[in-house]
């Protein structure tokens, strides 16, 4: 009994130590990556290629999801607002919820599963097939050549994707609210314009999406770089990327919202 209990305790302890060790390694890796970012930004075509894979190829899913999220917001929002006789406030509801929360958060979640998993799988497979080791043999630093461009590609793509998501969502809300249901177009836009503030809402949304971009891509490149060099290891790392990145986005969103919007 005591022996069994001891085994459980040491198992938990080992897990905790392992997590702390990984967090430390991830942080050290983050600094190394920032230190090697000079190359990625000087040889910009490398980063440009990653913007293509992370950003351009995510466009379809971001645009379509944004449109549908906006249309659903339009339908649900109208249904609720109409009960209080203030259906004209639909524009405010759609724009504020998209620009402040849904745009950055949902775009980051989609980005984590669409681009983050791809980054992890790519780097992990490069490691498993010893391409990273081969680079090191040729005196090419894999962090500078492979990891940093992917990181910057993701960080630069994320705010643009979030803005596209919000814009598309507002368009979707407009389609359902104004074109389909028949809310007055003038009050839809004018109430939106008087309620949405540039500094408070739009800039805070962009700040959120930059933070999410850093978090998601960091987790993705780290999981790939740290993946055990086996088929199983790469598949586990890909799963961990999506799970950890999604949880990190939601947790960071709570912290950022608490800091930014304290109900003034």
């Amino acid at each position: 009994m005591i022996v069994k209990l001891g085994a459980v305790v040491s198992d938990v302890g080992a897990r905790v130590v392992n997590r702390v060790w990984r967090l430390g390694f991830a942080s050290r890796f983050f600094w190394t990556m920032l230190g090697h970012s000079g190359t990625a930004l000087r040889r910009f075509p490398l980063t440009l290629r990653e913007i293509y894979f992370a950003g351009v190829l995510s466009l379809i899913i971001i645009l379509v999801s944004g449109l549908f999220v906006g249309m659903v917001l339009g339908l649900q929002g109208y249904d609720t607002l109409a009960r209080y006789g203030s259906a004209e406030a639909l524009g405010v509801l759609v724009a504020l919820s998209l620009v402040r929360e849904l745009g950055p958060v949902v775009a980051a979640l989609l980005f984590a599963s669409r681009a983050g998993s791809a980054i992890t799988a790519e780097i992990g497979l490069m490691k498993a097939t010893e391409q990273l080791d081969a680079m090191e043999m040729m005196a090419v630093d894999p962090v500078a050549r492979v990891v940093a461009p992917r990181f910057w590609g993701g960080v630069l793509s994320m705010p643009l994707l979030a803005a596209l998501f919000s814009a598309m969502g507002i368009f979707g809300g407009y389609l359902v609210g104004v074109v389909l249901i028949g809310v007055d177009a003038g009050s839809f836009w004018s109430q939106m314009q008087s309620a949405v503030d540039f500094r408070e809402d739009v800039v805070n949304g962009v700040i959120k999406s930059v933070v999410f971009g850093v978090a998601v891509t960091w987790i993705a490149v780290f999981e790939g770089y740290d993946a055990p060099p086996t088929a199983e290891g790469v598949s586990g790392a890909t799963t961990r990327t999506v799970v950890t990145a999604s949880l990190a986005v939601l947790a960071l969103d709570f912290v950022l919202t608490a800091l930014m919007f304290r109900g003034t």
Binding site: S157, A167, V202
Partner: protein, 157 residues
């Protein structure tokens, strides 16, 4: 593998779309184009009660937005609220303009309404409006209503 040129092209399209979306959000949604770079002049007013007025609330005259509330604080000498507003430079008001706190719709936001007076001199930057009317507080209104109902009730019998 794609050629360098078409890759650059698609990244360019993506960045352009992203910037267009950001511009749409800031100009069309947040309405940055109006009232941000226009010159304004500050005016303050004292109210007994500002109700639910908030910083960045609208200042309207004849229903047109002519400025924004920039600061609200409490004067510990006269126990009144001091509301500072930034009015658009294009609009000038007479010195004896009256300020009221009004509500847009039944449940809408509260705003400051300016009713111009007849003075020939205009308000200058930093002036204080002396004629003000406080926000209507629903509880006081109901209290007055009940009070007057109670007062007339015995006579009606």
């Amino acid at each position: 593998m794609m050629t360098r040129k078409s890759l650059d092209f698609w990244v360019g399209v993506f960045v352009l779309m992203g910037i267009a979306a950001l511009l749409f959000l800031s100009l069309k949604v947040a309405n940055l184009s109006s009232f941000s770079n226009g010159a304004t002049y500050p005016i303050s007013a004292r109210f007994d009660n500002i109700g639910g007025l908030k910083v960045r609330g609208a200042v309207k005259s004849a229903g047109v937005v002519v400025g924004r509330v920039t600061a609200i604080d409490f004067d510990n000498q006269s126990f009144e609220a001091r509301v500072t507003m930034a009015l658009d430079d294009r609009f000038r008001f007479p010195k004896d303009t009256a300020a009221k706190i009004l509500t847009s719709g039944l449940l809408g936001d509260q705003y400051v309404g300016l009713a111009p007076g007849g003075d020939t001199a205009n308000l200058q930057a930093g002036d204080t409006l002396t004629i003000t009317q406080s926000a209507v507080v629903l509880e006081n209104l109901i209290g007055q209503f009940l009070y007057s109902k109670a007062a007339e009730a015995p006579g009606k019998k």
